[in-house]
Symmetry: C2
Subunit: 384 residues, 2 copies
């Protein structure tokens, strides 16, 4: 018996950094997934083990379920709960025993989140969980959130806490209440990985579509136009905290200027959501809307540059795409990371191929993804 | 007898484009000059000719003074006056006779301005006027304004309209009233060349120092700190009118966003003038002030990018100077033209040499200039 879950990554369309200072930001899901497969095993199968396989990093961890059970001093709550200091210590002990290579030590917190979610939701049954992800790690595409959402979804799908049609063929969405539960658990996983996550990434991954957020308030919306984005991963690691701090320091040095910059970004996000929500067809054609969005992206990029969060590799992507008259902006923290390029509906595939091959020849990694699609989904295999 | 005049070029430090929409802009003179030498000749010398030599373009024009006199139907005013349609026709007839090569036909309006200024200020005496300029033409460095200012200064220096110490050795400044006269005449010359000039360029060239301007009001100020700029001419010709129109159209499409962008630029100009005017030494060291100015330049550049007036060559200069941790911004209309890079006081000459040679290897032309120095000056040769 096997259940699969897939959860999309996210991009920030507009408003990164400015959102920290009260502006509106807009995030959307991208059809690039973290996939989780959960298979319960019988003790005879495999020595009573809980196994986690991280396919992309070719790492495999396992714990006897009895050890996992022993580790937790108190009964675990089956409703979304933050991992207590005591439980965190127990998990740390389970993770410290693993031989995670030094270069991949960043995965330890993801393994901890897995142990917390699995034990809390599924208890201590032997199982094999396989994770594969199309999302680059630490590139600002919400890989950790989609990992947590996919895990929580797969684990919850096999409980009575949610109601799903196990006979459904193909990918299946959660109902609204169940989705809320998945999202809450995923957020608890994110907290183990990130300390103080904003909750945006897991929400976008769980719900899909488009979310605008301002001062902690989220507004869901459905896009009325398809948008295709080229996402270029510069592969330059960022120090998000330092970048956020840099913008705040600049804000303290130049409060008047930066307040106007943030207000301009706020207006960009508002204009963008108005375009995305407007009915199609309306007085503007898709192409006219795309041109407006391209202009908004260009303006947002200029404003991000004025915040000081661009990077030489980002500029390289901008220049390359500009040669083909395509508009781009950084997405997320900046200082490297990923760059978005709108691929207009009428753009020929030949041009897309050229841009991609030119970007890849710079050593960048490219994804083409439709944005604003479905959130997390479940697939019960035929043997379920 | 010979009199020489030199008039500096100008750069816009901050606020280009935004100034059209009501923001403050800051312009300053650069110690890069147009030089004019005026030598009266006697009829026996040279057949009663008025000669104009444009050394940089290896062009020489001459007119018998009698022809020039005949051309003007009415008595010319010796106080600054706009060239009437009738007089413009007369000048056009004098210029049309010249064999200006097609590629340099843009110089015709400069020759017209010369004829108007010379005839109005000096009447119809035979003379040889030699012009050499260190300023590139049409690159946004105020070459035409400094041409007009230097001509007006040289021509006025030999009249009773101004009072100068002809025995002074070396370069000599005009008194305030005389400077006003020079500037007014230069503006009339600029009108012949540009149609509707703003008057900023000739004012900066005449007065030197720093001028902030907003909604047509000029404020003069003296900088309290020396600043050295690397000016890189991308040699890409711009269509200033189209660039200005492009920003206005973007403003109509996105009024809220652009209003904030322009307000941010206004605050940048205000902060810059406060730094430049602040006494030295004060609580900030020169280096601290330079760092603030670099940040203001970077922010202004980002805002210009959000107006859509940058260009691939400008980005190349930005990237090159950024490698050396130097801050740059476009100056003037954008879309090519010139880029400013602040050269901090403590920057080693070796680094400057490296940056310059790297930029020149891209085909760009580099100047290093102190900014905010003297305006137009006169030099009476020993033979005066």
């Amino acid at each position: 018996m096997e259940v699969k879950a897939r959860a999309p990554g996210k991009i920030i369309l507009t408003g990164e950094h400015a959102v920290v200072h009260g502006s509106t930001a807009v995030a959307t899901s991208i059809a690039v997934y973290t996939n989780v497969s959960l298979r319960f095993t019988t003790p005879s199968d495999d020595e009573d083990l809980l196994k986690l396989q991280l396919k992309d990093t070719a790492l495999e961890f396992s714990w006897p379920v009895s050890k996992v059970r022993e580790a937790f001093p108190a009964q675990l709550s089956s409703t979304p709960t933050s991992c207590s200091v005591e439980n965190a210590k127990a998990i740390a002990a389970l993770v410290d025993h693993l031989s995670i290579p030094e270069a991949k030590i960043g995965l330890a917190s993801g393994v901890s989140a897995f142990l917390w979610l699995y034990s809390s939701i599924q208890g201590f049954k032997p199982a094999t969980v396989v994770v594969t992800s199309e999302l680059p790690l630490g590139a600002g595409l919400g890989s950790s959130a989609s990992f947590c959402v996919a895990l929580a979804a797969a684990f919850l799908a096999c409980t009575d806490s949610v109601s799903l049609d196990v006979n459904h063929q193909g990918w299946l969405s959660f109902g609204e209440k169940d989705l809320e539960l998945v999202n809450k658990w995923a957020f608890e996983g994110e907290k183990i990985i990130h300390g103080k996550p904003s909750g945006i990434d897991n929400t976008v991954s769980a719900y899909g579509n488009i979310i605008s957020f301002k001062s902690g308030n989220l507004t869901y919306m459905k896009s009325n136009m398809p948008l295709k984005m080229l996402i270029t991963n510069t592969k330059v690691g960022r120090n998000t905290k330092a970048l956020v701090a840099g913008v705040s320091e600049r804000m303290l040095r130049h409060p008047d200027i930066m307040a106007f910059v943030f207000s301009a970004v706020d207006s960009i996000s508002k204009e963008l959501t108005a375009i995305l929500k407007s009915p199609t067809p309306d007085e503007l054609t898709i192409t006219e809307k795309e041109e407006k969005i391209e202009e908004l992206m260009e303006m947002n990029q200029g404003l991000l540059q004025s915040m000081g969060v661009s990077h030489a590799t980002i500029e390289t992507v901008l220049r390359t795409t500009l040669k083909y008259k395509l508009a781009s902006k950084l997405t997320g923290a900046g200082g490297g990371g990923c760059v978005l390029t709108l691929l207009p509906t009428l753009l020929s595939g030949t041009v897309v191929d050229k841009v991609v091959s030119e970007l890849e020849s710079c050593g960048f990694q490219c994804f083409i993804a439709t944005i604003g699609g479905a959130g997390v989904e479940i697939n019960f295999g035929p043997s379920y």
